[in-house]
Amino acid sequence: MAEKQFREAIREAMTEEMRRDESVFLMGEEVAEYEGAYKVTQGMLAEFGGRRVIDTPISELGFSGLGVGSAMNGMRPIVEFMTFNFAVVGIDQIINNAAKIRSMSGGQVKIPMVFRGPNASAGQLGATHSVAYESLYAHFPGLITIFAADPYDAKGLLKSAIRDNNPVIFLESEQTYGMKQEVPEEEYLIPIGKGTVKREGSDVTLVAHGKMVHVAKMAAEQLAKDGVEAEIIDPRTIKPFDIDLVIESVKKTNRLVIVDESHPFGGVAAEVGFQIQREAFDYLDAPVQRVTVPDVPAPFSKKLFDLWFPSPKDVIEAVNSVTYRK
């Protein structure tokens, strides 16, 4: 099995699906001639031509809406946002059109499409380029939201997303594009809505998705040296959320820390915390804790940014609190 970068894995997913299904096409800013702002789409224009790999103007509202319209009319567009921070300009097309037209039409319309691109912070990019949007999209009925942490999951999930008949928000991270992992040559799909155990442990459950899986792993390695074995659950899909997997783990460990790059209010961590107190109340030995970015926009200054960004140290402190270790 060859090691592949995250960006190669999602390129393979798109390429394979475009070969498989004529109705799949890709559009976005700099996806064709420039070969992708993060080189995700390198070589795709050469293979599929300008009719299926389409450069758009910086016009998120316009091309998002065109994508939705084409999906209503039978196509399977992949709309790439250079980052999801720019999708906000056209978010009405996602939240009001992609998510709701099926419902408003009484089921006469399907919108099989993927909006994909990097999400959340990627270093000192300032306040507007550092937002984690998964809880926002997961809030809206009609959308599916996925945030893959590594190349293997990304490829299998993106292929499922392209084949899905719903609008899917597929979130990536600039900082994981270069990450390598063994990815099988043969075709595989990962089902939407199924989480995975990224590390087994018996003392505390860490729920983390996207980039935060890696922060959780670093914390878990440190904790293991102190004799605390953390179990890491990666839901992979934010909506629908595989809460059963978390419940199962919490029944074993009795303690839960959620690591989430969103802001705290109404974030993914808040929802998971609620579900667990309801579904696993009698199994909790400590209040659920969460590690999130604080309730402030991302700062630029390196020193403040490091303070803002969830670190392995923050995770360890939260674990200490739920295991009653000072």
């Binding site: 009795n254 009698d282 030995d285 009653y324």
Partner: protein, 422 residues
Amino acid sequence: MAIVIDMPKLSDTMEEGVIAKWNVKEGDEVKSGDIIAEVETDKATMEVEAFDPGTILKIFAKEGDAVPLGGKMAVIGKEGEDISDLLGDKKSEDKPSKEEAPVEKETLESEAETEETPGKKEDFDPLFGGIEGKGTEKESAEDGHIKASPLAKKMAKEQGIELSNVKGSGPLGRIVKKDIEEYEAPAAQPTATKRAEKDEDVPVSQMRKSIAKRLAESKFGSPHFYETVDIDMKKAVDARTAMNASGDVKISFNDFVVKACAMALRQHPKVNSSWLGETMRRHASIHVAVAVAVDEGLLTPVIRDTDIKGLTQISAETKELAGKARDKKLQPQEWEGSTFTVSNLGMYGIEEFTAIINPPNACILAVGAIRDIPVIENGEIVPGKRMKVTLSSDHRIVDGATSAQFLNAVRNLLENPMNMLL
């Protein structure tokens, strides 16, 4: 067919509209879409249009009148049409027909019925319905102030551990999983009282039935009153010690009491009586019965002519009768015909108690234990021996003064036992 134009919903919040202006009068022809009136709503002045063509046959509300939503404004129809049925009721169109009325009434009645049925309402409680079935924990009220993690609470419950006995090691003293795992029940303290698994229904023996009947009749049929005296037994103790040291027979304190009673009864014959309803019988003989505990209850063998028997004989007869009673060999003539009863629980350490009169006796003496207590003699605290006796008397036969005199007689005899030996 004529059509009623009623006050339309011209704003989403209006409840009535005021006729600002009529653009038509009765007899005018209108087309569908013609503006026939202007109405002030809570928001604005709105136009009211005709939705059907025809002639305005009737206008109900004048300019300036407020008409409720759905109330009649006008009637449109063919000229000369009979609209008398539309002129009556304010909202005849929407009124339920007569056939519907009884149904409505029935509904109301059945609602009333539902309310009267107790308990039914709870079944419909949308908020708390069903929760009771799941069993709201009594525990939560009891340990409301005990901080424990949900898991620790569950574990404690499963293991029968009282959370109040567990020390919490978590923040603010929260009891956590570890505390339950490490909890050891204190050795001295028996674990939660183990009850018999099932209640047992024991058949009632003939003796019990008889006791139950006789004592209930006595307790509830004869008005009891009670008097207690505390008797100095120092001399009786000394006398008994001396007597038992010399003879073969072991005289008990109870024998002293029986003898004292018999002698006191002779002095106070009113106490040696029976209530017969129309008459009271003063017994010529004194037969003191002694209550003896046996397996299934108690028996009261009788020492006949007690007053003329000496302590030694009383003692011997008592032992013999008690033995027969315990062996179930007592004959009816041995427990019948008593005139007074002594019941002694002193050997169980009972200080004082009240006894139920043994019919047809007039009184019973309940004897407590002899206690070692400090007493003041000549201004000095010295060891003393005291015994409380309580006389239950049937007020139909004896009065308080009579029984008090009797009790004092008993006390005098016991405090001066030599008098009994004379």
